[in-house]
């Protein structure tokens, strides 16, 4: 297989397979999780402003009092790489072009140099949280193969994408093909690992906010 053939495959059938597995996987997992349902709460509710599922979906993005001080790396590193990933994935002009070619939807991108910078910051933040996972007794204790694996499949697309844009290490075509392949691996893995929190985080926050909001507690 030549470089071009490789690129053609990952851009064509490879992408189709990955996107299909991703969509089916997400759908399957959402049904598998949320169809379990829950019992109605028969206790009399207490109504307090700000105490509801939706409030918690948003409010939980803000660290509770005192927590940043207790675990600064988790919060600062966490915010940095999540926001960084969002910028790189959704505001890099070529990514927007790809979405446009498939769905017709388009939005303004950010300057390439800025996205480059964000990619570097994102990778740095991811390395910092990885080191924190290795160093911090609680994180190390909780970590399983899945934690190292999901870190890797999240990191590789950013790294290969950045290397491709910078024309570093490998010929552009090869690096671009590797970049697309790494994204495809991420897409396939996402629904079946802890990366699925990208979807369930909203449900989890909502349930928590709802259950406690029933008691009039704004969590």
């Amino acid at each position: 297989m030549t470089e071009m053939q490789f690129l053609t495959w990952v851009r064509g059938p490879g992408l189709d397979i990955a996107v299909a597995l991703f969509l089916l996987g997400v759908l399957w997992r959402l049904i598998e999780i949320y169809s379990l349902g829950r019992k109605a709460d028969l206790s009399a509710p207490r109504h307090t402003p700000g105490a509801s599922g939706w409030h918690t979906v948003f409010r939980r993005s803000v660290p509770p009092p005192g927590m940043v001080k207790r675990s600064p790396v988790s919060y600062i590193g966490g915010y940095t790489f999540h926001i960084g990933l969002a910028i790189v994935v959704f505001f890099f002009a070529p990514h927007i072009k790809l979405v446009e070619s498939v769905t017709g939807l388009s939005w303004p991108g950010l300057p390439s140099q800025f996205v480059d910078f964000v990619a570097v910051v994102t990778m740095a933040a991811m390395v910092v949280v990885l080191v924190d996972r290795i160093n911090k007794p609680v994180k190390r204790y909780l970590s399983t193969f899945e934690d190292w694996f999901t870190w890797t499949v999240t990191f590789l697309p950013v790294l290969t994408g950045w290397l491709a844009v910078q024309h570093l290490l490998l010929p552009y075509t090869t690096m671009l093909a590797l970049h697309i392949l790494s994204v495809e691996i991420l897409l396939v893995v996402l629904p079946f690992t802890k990366l699925f929190h990208a979807f369930t985080v909203f449900g989890s926050r909502w349930y928590n906010g709802r259950v406690n909001g029933h008691k009039g507690v704004a969590v």
Binding site: W28, R29, E32, I33, Y34, S35, L36, G37, R38, K39, D41, L42, S43, A44, R46, T48, A51, T56, V57, R60, S61, P63, P64, P65, G66, M67, R70, S71, S74, G78, R133, K136, P137, V138, K139, R140, Y141, L142, T144, D147, F192, K194, F196, H197, T200, V201, G203, S204, R205, W206, Y207, N208, G209, V211, N212, H214, K215, G216, V217, V219
Partner: protein, 429 residues
């Protein structure tokens, strides 16, 4: 698989619902819940990380309710939950968890971890892995009527004593009263001032109230061990009593988990909404205060601080009333760091105080309370939970801290002028 393990696993499968599935799928192993748990912060031992306390439940979820987990189980690639493992987890699910719920309010993905621990306890209890201390308390509540073995004659003796002391009659089984007042054994045996305080407060407010001969005990160890069948029997007594006496409101005593058991779990345990309201005594006092029915004289002048019982504040939604009540009778009320919604547990909630073998760990965890107290150096500590009070007193004694602990209700009652209750009594007669 032993019969008890089989039963436990069956119960665990039953308690898993969409929220639990969503929570397990959302966890990213960030470990922030550990930072919110006093058993971790005070020991530094990662095994006390709240989400780790649920590991057997997580595996059952994965093996039973996910496609990949079922495939892995079929192929013999998954680790089954064993008797030995659940026995090992007793310490994590009971001794080192007071159901304080701090983990649930810090988890960045929104996992309600304490919700899961409460459900996990159902399976632990069904598989025979609940601690002897709480099991005994639950059994005594079922057979004798109270976890400390208190029976009606003891309550009657206490009533008589309070009547002699205050000159106010204590109504028993008065049909149609507005309020039915519940007690905790702790109050009957250790803190009799509570009942006298209620008598004075109700008298001044001009409210009708009663005790109930078939339901005086509010605590619910059935809920604490995680046995809904026992919890239901205990709650049903109160429901039956309240409906028989046709009261409007049942008042949960100064006891955190009794409030949770009755206010939030009660209707779900009996399977229908209540026909009466349930309020914590602090909520009732807050209403009296707002309506001008709680008139006090003078103020405490020493430095006072307030310990929020977890089940009242963070888990119960009563956060502001205690503060405005404190301010009514305390001239020098100071707040501890993290007071209110984020307060730290005394270390003995959720049944933990009944676990003898957990005492050493409890005292270790008490260092958190100690540091909160050291920050404000109060002369006295006020709270609104008899269990917190006992645990606080034990901890303070252990660390040789000379800080008396008082109940908020009785402190308020001490400031009700005798003339108010006396004249009201004469008017009533």
């Amino acid at each position: 698989m032993s019969a008890s393990l089989d039963k436990g696993v069956r119960v665990l499968k039953e308690v898993i619902d969409a929220p639990i599935a969503s929570y397990f799928n959302s966890c990213v192993h960030c470990g922030l819940c550990a930072e919110a748990c006093l058993f971790y912060t005070e020991t530094g031992d990662p095994k006390y990380t709240p989400i780790h306390k649920l590991e057997p439940l997580r595996r059952i979820y994965e093996q039973e309710y996910t496609l990949l987990g079922r495939v892995k189980k079929r192929l013999g690639l998954s680790k089954p939950v064993t008797d030995a493992e659940l026995a090992e987890w007793q310490e994590l699910v009971y001794n080192s968890c007071t159901l304080c719920g701090r983990c649930s309010v810090v988890c960045p993905v929104g996992n309600d971890i304490v919700y899961m621990v409460r459900k996990f306890r159902e399976g632990m209890s069904a598989s025979g892995n609940a601690p002897e201390g709480i099991k005994g308390a639950a059994q005594r509540t079922i057979t004798i009527g109270s976890p400390m073995g208190v029976k009606l004659p003891a309550v009657k003796a206490q009533m008589k004593h309070v009547e002699d002391d205050t000159g106010i009659p204590i109504p028993l089984d008065a049909e149609g009263a507005e309020y039915m007042v519940m007690l905790s054994s702790m109050e009957i045996i250790n803190f009799p001032e509570y009942l006298g305080a209620i008598a004075k407060i109700m008298k001044q407010a001009g409210k009708t109230w009663t005790l109930c001969s078939t339901a005086f005990e509010a605590t619910n160890a059935g809920m604490q061990i995680g046995n809904s069948d026992l919890a239901r029997v205990i709650v049903s007594r109160i429901v039956d009593g309240a409906e028989r006496l046709k009261v409007k409101t049942v008042i949960s005593p100064e006891c955190g988990h009794a409030y949770t058991a009755l206010r939030w779990e009660g209707a779900n345990l009996v399977g229908r909404p209540f026909t009466f309201e349930v309020k914590h005594i602090i909520e009732v006092l807050g209403e009296f205060q707002a309506q001008g029915l709680l008139k006090t004289e003078g103020k405490e002048t020493d430095r006072l601080t307030f310990h929020d019982p977890c089940q009242l504040a963070r888990r119960g939604g009563v956060i502001h009333q205690q503060r405005s009540l404190m301010n009514q009778v305390a001239a020098n009320f100071v707040e501890m760091p993290d007071a209110g919604f984020m307060n730290w547990c005394c270390g003995g909630g959720g049944g933990a105080s009944a676990i003898e073998e957990g005492e050493e760990l409890r005292l270790e965890a008490f260092k958190k309370k100690k540091s909160q107290l050291d920050a404000v150096k109060p002369d006295r500590l006020v709270t609104a939970c008899a269990n917190c009070r006992i645990v606080l007193e034990e901890g303070l004694e252990h660390y040789q801290m000379d800080i008396p602990v008082v109940g908020l209700t009785e402190m308020l009652a001490e400031h009700i002028p005798d003339t108010a209750t006396k004249s009201a009594e004469q008017q009533g007669a």
